[in-house]
Amino acid sequence: MKAIQMRICSNQQVSDRYWHMKVDASELNADVQPGQFFQLRCGHDIHPLLRRPFSIYRINRMERTLEFLYLVKGAGTQRLTLMQAGEYVDVFGPLGTPFVLQDDWETILLLARGVGIATLAALAQDAAEKGVQAVAILSARSRNDLLAAETLQGFGAQVLHVTDEEQTSGVEQVRGLLDSLLQQNRIDAAFTCGSKRLSRLLQDVTRKHAIPAQIALEEHMGCAMGVCFACVCDVKEGDHLKTVRVCKEGPVFPLEKVVL
């Protein structure tokens, strides 16, 4: 991990609430894996002050670029939208532990909501490169927010979507979708990001079906390098509860261990 200035290739609005940034990562001498994240400075002033964590949306190893899909939520991300192609953004990373994708898996299930879809898109890319089929259920407020659907399809993923506006995103409706998918397919592993209620659902379903699952957690961060203990969550180690750091021990955890 190191902090470097990366040249912005593009930074564009892609829907009402989402923006997409592509940066030149040729100065970064580190391999980047799906599930890892970067801390970006959203300006050069003291407000917004802290860096913001962004998961990786796409890793383009050949052209040595990285892409971030981000939700414009507060002062930091609003300031980030003002950055333009050709400018430099201060990027710290790669940080955290990546998803684990076993070579012998044939089909994986992805369940994501909101900006969590961006995190799983990088995994779908990695799966495609390894010849692993991905089936994705994407949940969002509206169809307009289902940005990564085409990207996922581009990686050969089968994509199903549910939205609040279509009233198809309720937990029990998603449970029904998951059940039918699991009946029709042999799913080797499942992955989730972006929603606690959907993560709880997947925890329940994968436990019943004895499928290994991983989750990428999101939490307010301070240092993002493990020293401040701001971003913690509880995990079960046997009968014991352990408080661990999302930035260091995570953000990817075995789903069955996380207390949601």
């Binding site: 003291i46 802290l50 860096r51 939490e219 961060m221 301070g222 390098m225 020293v227 203990f229 701001a230």
Partner: protein, 311 residues
């Protein structure tokens, strides 16, 4: 070029330079981004006697030019500290200052005796901003008599330098600083975070899980500079300024107010190499103004007639 003297003395401890981390904003993981041997001291996260879980999340939030935290001193306890943390820092030549947090005077004394007696510990920083569980829950550092008594008792069990980390959440920081000096402290840290609160107006909920938290960052720097200045007027002890130092000029400002050294916290979150950047900027300032000894700047703010009680 004339050699710059950046040395700082705190009791019997000599630091190579005045830049060190603030406890709670530093740990072994930062080894990946900075060379610890270049720092004036290393100050790992405060240690408690027993393991502590820490507070509810969210534990941090950002406010205008600042951040609030309510970590709650998540700690692995003194045994882990003795077995892992102190031995880890022995590999560096930089002095290790152990920050101690305790619930009672007896516990401060007990922990000090153990930690100060451990090889590799150069000095102790007593975090007297933590609540006194035997009292009414107010921090030790909010009460001059308790502060004096705590440091006097701890002084009995070690000759190693003792730094009292004061809380800024008091009516008179001078009174507490003098009490710490009378108790036998070798240095004063001015200061811990400032008690604060932030509310999300959309959800109407507090923005951090513990409701109240400690404010740090650039927003607090003028308050801390004021406190350093006030403490320097009444105490002859070396002061470590802590609160909102983001660059070399901020560090120099604290030194002019009366600090001998500075601690860096929030700045390291914004820029992981901040401590070393700040050290370089201090050197640049010294060269710019022909200053060869950093200690010659301590308290050299150019004030005319002043009246601390005049406002």
């Amino acid at each position: 070029m004339t050699e710059l003297d950046l040395q700082v003395k705190i009791g019997s401890l000599t630091l190579a330079n005045p830049v060190m981390p603030a406890s709670g904003a530093f740990g072994e993981d930062m080894e990946a981004v900075i060379d610890f041997n270049l720092l004036g001291a290393v100050v790992p996260k405060s240690i408690t006697k027993h393991p502590r879980k820490g507070n509810a999340t969210p534990r941090v939030c950002e406010t205008a030019a600042g951040m609030m935290n309510s970590i709650g001193i998540q700690s692995k306890g003194i045994h882990y500290y003795l077995e892992h943390v102190i031995p880890y820092y022995r590999r560096y030549q930089t002095p290790l200052i152990s920050s101690i947090s305790a619930d009672s005077i007896e516990e401060f004394v007990e922990m000090t005796a153990i930690i100060a007696g451990t090889e590799g510990v150069a000095a102790l920083e007593l975090n007297i901003s933590c609540p006194n569980l035997k009292g009414n829950g107010a921090a030790f550092g909010m009460d001059a008599q308790l502060t004096r008594e705590l440091i006097r008792e701890v002084r009995q069990v070690t000759d190693k330098p003792l730094i009292a980390k004061l809380t800024p959440n008091v009516t008179s920081i001078q009174e507490i600083a003098l009490a710490a000096e009378e108790g036998g402290a070798d240095g004063l840290n001015v200061a811990n975070t400032i008690l604060a609160m932030a509310i999300d107006v959309h959800t109407r909920k507090p923005r951090i899980g513990n409701i109240l938290g400690g404010l740090s960052g650039p927003a607090v720097k003028p308050i801390i500079v004021r406190m350093i200045y006030q403490v320097h007027q009444v105490s002859s002890l070396p002061i470590i300024g802590c609160g909102g130092v983001m660059n070399g000029e901020d560090a120099i400002e604290m030194i002019l107010a009366g600090a001998s050294a500075v601690q860096i916290g929030t700045a390291s979150f914004v820029q992981p190499t901040a401590m070393l950047d700040i050290l370089e900027e201090i050197k640049q300032y010294m060269v710019q103004y022909g200053i060869t000894d950093i200690q010659s700047l301590v308290g050299q703010v150019a004030v005319g007639k002043h009246n601390l009680e005049g406002c």
